[in-house]
Structure formats: structure tokens, C-alpha cells
């Protein structure tokens, strides 16, 4: 048996040598002065511009302090198109990230003490010297491209810059292959463009919004929930397809309680109805699309009656909802969703969604999908990055050619050397993403980590991935630092600034400081020619006619659109960025790669007797691991519950509030137990829980052992051959009611 080189260390397990050091905070005058300069004189009533980091929506807001100079509240910036002056609960509770006393406080280095792995508290110099020496060694022996960065959030810009300067382009975010990747590729192959983030959905002017498994209102993607509410006010029809009676379903005119995993059949039937009845935008289809005749012939057999047997949705409802969509067109949105890695044929399902939108002519139309534009902000001039010997996609050569971003699980898998392939990733840097909860198939992740020479984790909280690290670097929260300008595409190009409202607590540091300091130790100073973030931002802002001073005052700045209109003009000649220059109903890219050029229905695995499909989602007050220990947000919700249909509960004799463990189809048993919530809101063939709970690090005092981590039960992963997405909805669980039985202890 292979022994694990790497023992999981709970952050609490500090070696004795470390304890004394941990108490003394090593002060770096550089960062401290820089922050002090701004924070000085900041008294109650004054506000500091920031943008939120609790989720990717990055709403811009103002941080206010109380009379004692302590951060008290965060309020949305009225001028910000991402939030219109209103934060979501997570953003409002974002102050909890700053106040959380369980935060990572000082750099930690893995070391041995009496044959046991422990973390030793070290100062920043020692931690960064250690990393720099290792990186140089790896670069010499294997090449700099053997270092990969997994990132989520604002730190990625700083560490990504460092990695590129060092000679690696292996930069990846689980938000692609574990989340929204299939929709980007599905739309890219159809319309030649992606959905972007924030989504380009013109919900506020939509007359019909179709949600397929997308639970807006439980996912608090701010602009979308605000616009959905506006649309409700204006009388828009909402159609929700979900096996669960979601909050959105409860606001909908039509709820289609679909049998899980059969969405493709419904989408094909809708196409069939639209085309058979002539309920599509003929002019648009003729002018802009490619392959209509093929599509028409293809969907001809997929009648609502055919779909009924698969989806359990009444054929009349399929027809009626199709008519609603057509009547609202082109102000209709078949929403592409966000977390769409479900069954492994997800890109094809999102192609079907894209095709429906094309038939209804909603792309490029008011109330459909608008053309977003991004503010054009120049980069601070730096020398040209070295060309890496190997591109990241070589890690999964010959596969996922249509992926438009780096596939995280592709990097993870390639880290484990096989006889025919040794991509020799020797080091990972992981920033702002708890890979133990983000990547399915934990065993694979741990195997990959064990093949590494160095794992560096940069985070604010002792999330599980820190336990596998060789070095843990405590970054400060977004309220204590500058970051790069936010410049996401939107209706109007705009930028937002993040300015520190307080000094970094404990011995934590801003990500930009960590990257720059490490760069200096690697001799990469030339790539970080700015004195500090203030100089960098001020330079960028002056290039576009603003300044850091101005941005500190206003927080958000909008610019006029320059290159295109928000919508297509009637009859406008539009060329799309696809092979044919048209909207490809029939995808030539898919065909060239050997995939079905038109989406087909494939039946997916079904639960065995006594098992239920594990469905997971979001709660409005949490963003997964990131908020799991936040004192303000755990106050609202501190554990997930297992939604069980009353029929199922009766069958198993389950009572409301009873704790159960879960066992999946592969015999994996959950570490912790979860409370049963008996509710009619879930189908009898499925159970549901909110993702992001069940943390097993005791140092997360509010999150430890609260509920179940669904990721540990997701071991049957259906990889999308088109873009590498990890389909996670083919996992089935059964109940273990005797939670204290030793037989049911988790085997490790």
C-alpha cells in the first residue's frame, strides 16, 4: 500500500515551535504604511469604495465605520449597474469575513514533529523564501510550466500575473469545468459568443423568462434577481423547469416538475412545437441562422407526446409554454443557467437552449440577450511574458478541444503521472477556492495532491484544502486591500474600484503584496514595476481619463459605448463569430470534433431501488465554503438540511429534524449527519441539499460538522467530452438512520 506523504493537518495542529511566533505579528512596514496612508483620518460617517468579493458578481458598494472606527456595514453603490445600490444578503453580511475570528492569521509551513506532520507558524519572509526556492528548483528540474494556479476571485489577477512572469500559463478556475463551462461552449458554438459574467440576459425587459433548473432567488446573483423582480412587476411570464419547487417556481406562471435528467427531451419537444406550428422568427432564422432545414428534420419525431413519456410533463403544457414563449418573442429568455455541469452531455443541452433562443430571435434583441461591452482599460506596461514550452491544454491533449478556458479537472488529472503521460505538474498554488469542495471525486484530488512537490494555499479561512498544503498563506479579506479594477462587460461599459477600509488584521497580507514580494524573491521584479497598487491603479485610471482620487470618491464610473449597439437594429446585417458567420443551429464545430451537430436526447442513469438522486443548489445567504463560517451569515443559516418528500419519509419512517447519514452508489458514507426536512417541495425520486456545508476542519468553529458536504458523495462523475465539464448529478444516495453504528463510520 502506498503511504500518504501528506497527512491532512487541521490548522489548529500547530507545532510547539510555532505557538510563540504565532502570537507575535510580524509587521511589514511596506504594506502597513500603504494601507495606513489611506485609512488614516477615516472616521465614522466616511465611506470607502469597494466591490464585493463574497461572490463573482462583484457588486460595488461603500464600507461605513462606526464611532469607534470599526467596520459596521456595507451598502451598495447607487451608480453600480451590478447592484443598483442594493447588495444581496451575502454582500451585506460580508463584514463577517473581516470580523471572523477563525481567519487564517499567519503563514504556516508544514513540518515534522515527532514523526507527525504539523504546521509551524513562520514569518512572511521564511514562507516566501521557502516557496521561491522550491519554485526555482521545480523550474530548473521540470520547467516553470509545471506550476499550476487554481483560482477563484480577485487574487487570481495577482497570482496569475506572477505565474505568467515565471513562465507558466497553467491558470485555471473551477468556475469553468465545474460550473458554467457548458453554457459558454454551447453558446459559443451556436452564436460565436459567450454569456459572460454578469450574464448578458436582458431580464428587466423580458416578457417571458424560462428557467431550467436555475434557481434565481436562491442563487442571489444580484442583477438577475433584481431584474426578475422588475419583470414580475411588469407582468412577465416565468416558466420554471425543476424537479424541486424552487422559490423561482413559486413565482412562476408555469412550473414544470420534470423528472430529473430528462431536460433535453423537453427542449427538443419545444423545438418541435415551435417549428411544426411556425412559432418562430422566420425572418431572423432566415437572415441569421445556418442549418434550419437540418434542424427541422431532426426534431420532427420529438413530439410533446414523445417527451411526455420521458419527462412526465403533460404534452398540453409543453405546447402551451411553447406558445407563451413565441407570443413574448423576441423578448424571451430561455435562460442558460450558471451551474450546468450535470450529466456529461451538458454542452449539448446548452446548445439546445441556444437553438431555442435562436428560433425565437432573442439573441441581440431587447428582452432577450443584449450585446455587452467592457471598459477598455490598458494594462500597466510590463516586459513580454516568457513563452512557456508547454501550453496548459497539453495536459489533456486531444480532448476538450472546444473548451474556451483551461479545464481544472484536466490539470488535476494530468498531475497524476501515468505510464503514457507525464505532464509533471509539480506545484499547485490554490487561491480562494476550496478544491476539496469544488472538485468532485475527492480521492482523485487527493491523489493528485500527493503527486505534487509543493502545494501552496492562499486563503482567508482554514478551509479543508489548507490541511493538504505545504505552505498556507493568509491573505487579507477584500475589505482590507486594493485589487485590480473591476471591468466586467455590461450594458454600459463601467469600472469599479476596491480601496482598503481597514488595515489587514492579524498577520494577513493583500494578494497583490504577496505576489509582488514572491516575484522579488524570484528575481521577477521587472514584471512588477509599480511601487504599489495605488501607483498601478492611478496610472491605469489616468489613461482612461479618471484618477484614483476620483474613483475613491465615486467608486464606479461609466463610459459611453463605443463599438456596437445594445441590440441588433431591425434587418441589420450581422456577422457571427462562427465558421459559417451565421448562428449555427447545426454546429459545424461540433461536427468537426466528431460530436453530434444537432443535440440528441440520451437517457441517463437512474436511481436503484432505495436510492434517490442527489440534487444540490444554493441558499441565498451563502456562497459555499467562502461564507460557511461567516458569523453574520451562519446566524441566518448554519447547516444544510436534507429535503425529503413526505412519501419517501413515510416509507423510511423518517421524522422531521431527524439526523441521517447518507451512503452513495459507490458505498461512500457521509462524514457527518444531516437533519431531515420533510417537504412537498421535492420529488419522490430525489433528495436535495444546499452545497457548501459539512466542513471537517474544527478550526471553522461555526461550520465544523454542520450538515453534509455533498461533494464527498459525488464520486460518479460524468465528464463532458466536448469541454471537460464534470457532470455531478448522476449520484444516488440512500439513508443511514442509525447514525452512531460503527459499521457506518466513514472508511478512509
Amino acid at each position: 500500500m502506498k503511504t500518504n506523504r501528506r497527512q491532512f493537518i487541521k490548522i489548529g495542529a500547530l507545532g510547539t515551535g510555532g505557538i510563540a511566533l504565532a502570537a507575535t505579528t510580524h509587521n511589514w512596514s511596506f504594506a502597513a504604511d500603504l494601507v495606513k496612508k489611506y485609512v488614516a483620518g477615516d472616521t465614522a460617517g466616511q465611506r470607502t469604495a469597494t466591490y464585493c468579493e463574497v461572490c463573482f458578481w462583484q457588486c460595488a458598494g461603500w464600507v461605513y465605520k462606526d464611532e469607534d472606527g470599526e467596520i459596521q456595514k456595507i451598502i451598495g453603490n447607487e451608480d453600480d449597474p451590478h447592484c443598483n445600490g442594493r447588495f444581496c444578503p451575502r454582500g451585506t453580511g460580508g463584514i463577517g469575513q473581516y470580523h471572523d475570528e477563525d481567519r487564517l492569521k499567519t503563514p504556516l509551513l508544514r513540518t515534522k514533529e515527532n514523526g507527525k506532520d504539523v504546521f509551524k507558524a513562520v514569518d512572511w519572509d521564511e514562507a516566501l523564501d521557502f516557496i521561491a526556492a522550491k519554485m526555482k528548483g521545480i523550474a530548473e528540474k521540470h520547467g516553470p510550466e509545471c506550476i499550476a494556479l487554481f483560482t477563484h476571485g480577485s487574487g487570481g489577477a495577482h497570482f496569475g500575473h506572477l505565474l505568467k512572469a515565471f513562465g507558466s500559463q497553467s491558470i485555471t478556475a473551477p468556475s469553468f469545468a465545474q460550473c458554467r463551462g457548458p453554457r459558454e461552449v454551447g453558446f459559443l458554438t451556436t452564436f460565436g459568443d459567450i454569456i459572460y459574467s454578469p450574464e448578458r440576459t436582458d431580464i428587466r425587459d423580458s416578457k417571458c423568462l424560462v428557467l431550467i433548473g436555475s434557481h434565481i432567488g436562491e442563487n442571489m446573483h444580484n442583477g438577475q434577481i433584481q431584474e426578475m423582480s422588475d419583470a414580475i412587476d411588469k407582468g412577465a411570464t416565468i416558466i420554471t423547469v425543476d424537479p424541486r419547487f424552487s422559490t423561482a417556481a413559486s413565482k412562476s406562471k408555469f412550473w414544470l416538475p420534470i423528472k430529473p435528467s430528462t431536460d433535453m427531451a423537453l427542449l427538443l419537444a419545444w423545438m418541435n412545437v415551435l417549428i411544426e406550428n411556425g412559432w418562430y422568427d422566420k425572418d431572423y432564422v432566415e437572415r441569421y441562422t445556418y442549418g434550419f432545414e437540418e434542424l427541422k428534420a431532426h426534431v420532427q419525431p420529438f413530439t410533446p407526446e414523445w417527451a411526455y413519456g420521458i419527462t412526465t410533463i403533460d404534452p398540453n403544457v409543453i405546447r402551451k409554454t411553447a406558445k407563451e414563449m413565441f407570443d413574448a418573442s423576441p423578448a424571451v429568455i430561455i435562460h442558460p443557467g450558471r451551474h450546468v455541469t450535470w450529466y456529461g452531455d451538458d454542452t449539448q443541452r446548452l446548445r439546445a437552449v441556444a437553438i431555442l433562443n435562436a428560433l425565437l430571435g432573442s439573441w441581440g434583441r431587447r428582452g432577450g440577450f443584449y450585446n455587452p461591452e467592457k471598459a477598455n482599460v490598458p494594462d500597466f506596461p510590463v516586459p513580454e511574458f516568457p513563452t512557456p514550452k508547454r501550453t496548459p491544454t497539453e495536459a489533456y491533449e486531444g480532448k476538450y478541444n472546444l473548451a474556451n478556458e483551461v479545464v481544472s479537472n484536466g490539470i488535476c488529472d494530468a498531475t497524476i503521472p501515468t505510464p503514457d503521460k507525464n505532464c509533471s505538474f509539480k506545484m499547485w498554488m490554490v487561491n480562494g477556492t476550496n478544491l476539496m469542495a469544488a472538485l468532485p471525486n475527492q480521492k482523485q484530488t487527493i491523489d493528485a495532491i500527493n503527486a505534487l512537490e509543493l502545494l501552496v494555499v492562499v486563503d482567508t479561512m482554514p478551509v479543508e484544502i489548507t490541511g493538504y498544503a505545504d505552505v498556507v498563506l493568509p491573505e487579507c479579506t477584500y475589505l482590507e486591500r486594493y485589487d485590480m479594477l473591476r471591468k466586467s462587460p455590461h450594458r454600459e461599459p463601467n469600472i469599479a474600484v476596491r480601496v482598503p477600509a481597514a488595515q489587514p488584521k492579524y498577520n494577513s497580507k493583500p494578494a497583490d503584496w504577496i505576489a509582488k514580494k514572491l516575484a522579488e524573491k524570484l528575481g521577477l521584479d521587472a514584471f512588477f514595476p509599480w511601487k504599489d497598487m495605488e501607483e498601478l491603479l492611478d496610472w491605469q485610471l489616468k489613461e482612461i481619463g479618471s484618477s484614483l482620487d476620483e474613483m475613491k470618491r465615486i467608486g464606479v464610473k461609466k463610459f459611453p459605448r463605443t463599438y456596437d449597439d445594445l441590440y441588433f437594429a431591425p434587418g441589420e446585417d450581422v456577422s457571427f463569430n462562427t465558421t459559417t458567420g451565421k448562428i449555427e443551429l447545426y454546429s459545424t464545430d461540433m461536427e468537426a470534433e466528431g460530436f453530434d451537430p444537432l443535440p440528441v436526447y440520451t437517457p441517463h442513469e437512474e436511481p436503484a431501488e432505495g436510492f434517490y438522486r442527489l440534487i444540490y443548489g444554493r441558499a441565498p445567504m451563502h456562497t459555499f465554503s467562502r461564507t460557511a463560517n461567516n458569523p453574520n451569515l451562519t446566524d441566518l443559516m448554519d447547516e444544510n438540511t436534507l429535503w425529503v418528500n413526505p412519501k419517501v419519509a413515510k416509507l423510511w419512517g423518517l421524522e422531521a429534524g431527524q439526523e441521517v447519514k447518507l451512503k452513495n452508489q459507490d458505498g461512500i458514507i457521509s462524514t457527518f449527519a444531516i437533519k431531515v426536512r420533510i417537504t412537498e417541495r421535492i420529488r419522490w425520486d430525489s433528495v436535495y441539499m444546499v452545497h457548501g456545508f459539512g466542513h471537517n476542519n474544527k478550526k471553522l468553529s461555526r461550520a465544523h460538522g454542520r450538515g453534509i458536504n455533498d461533494t464527498e458523495l459525488i464520486t460518479n462523475v460524468k465528464v463532458d467530452p466536448v469541454m471537460g465539464g464534470t457532470g455531478m448529478r448522476s449520484n444516488f444516495v440512500t439513508f443511514i438512520t442509525d447514525i452512531y453504528s460503527t459499521e457506518n463510520e466513514k472508511k478512509s
Binding site: 451598495g76 432567488g217 423582480s229 412587476d233 413559486s250 417541495r681 420529488r683
Partner: protein, 178 residues
Amino acid sequence: MRYAMAVDTKKCVGCSDCVVACQTENKVPIGYCRDWVVEVMDGTYPQLEIEIRSERCNHCENSPCVRCCPTGASHYADGGVVLVTPDECIGCGACIASCPYDARYPHPDGYVDKCTFCLDNRVKKGLDPACVSVCPTKCMYFGDLDDPNSPVSKVLKKRKFKTLIPEAGTQPQLYFLI
């Protein structure tokens, strides 16, 4: 002047932003809240209905809490807003027992606390209460019922509404649009 609030149950998604915003604005200690969210579900799968309500003190026109307060700490302030003066409150809890809506809680500092409609810290400065101004669905309306142009007057004219436990005779000033 008669301050009142309306909450649109058709738009509220139960996100609890109103709860957090109140906590941070009014420094409500963690573990306590002045407003909260109620979700009522009805039916069997797949014939289901949910009503979601953001609830708080109803600032009743005929408040049992004010009536039963032995020290006068609970009182009517401007616009009929029911307030507690912490200095005068002896923490006896009579008001907590008398409120049919469970709107009050014992503050760890020894007095009874509850929603103030953010009267002094926001409304008198021309701002909406914290919950109203943060709500991402914009489902809350606040203002003076005596002013026909206030958002709350306008929406109550346009929409069907209800109050909670009207039979208690408290004349609540928190309206739910249905």
C-alpha cells in the same frame, strides 16, 4: 402622519437580506433579530403554493405592548412608530408576552428591543428603513399613509393586501401585498 410598511409577497424571495441589513445598521447582536422571514407552504406535489413574508413589529395603532409597559419605556413616537426607550426599560418582559406577533426580544444589555422602522437613524434623515433600502427585489414600500403620494399609500391603493392576526384588534401597520 402615520408611518406604515408594505411587503410584496409576490416578489419577496426570502433571502433575508432585510435581516442582515437591519442587524448591521442597528447593531443588533448576532443571534438576535428585529425582522425575520416566514415561508408558508400549502398543497401537495406538484400543486404547491408558497407565501414568503418579511416580518417585523407591526407598529400597531392599538398596541398591547405600550399599554402593558409599567414604566412607559414602550411608547408611540412620531408617525405612530412604537419605540422602546432603553434607559427606561427594566426588562420585565411584559411587552414580549403581550405582543401577538412575537416581535420583541430581550437585548443582552438588559432591555427589550425590536424594530424601530429606523425612525431616528434613517427615516428622520429622509432615508428608507435599512431593510427597505437593501431589498434586492424592491418588494418593500415605506412611507406616510397620510400622504397619498408616499410609496406605501400608492401601492396599497393599487394592490390587494392583508395584515397579520387582524382579529387581535391591534391595528397593525405592516401590510402584506397578496
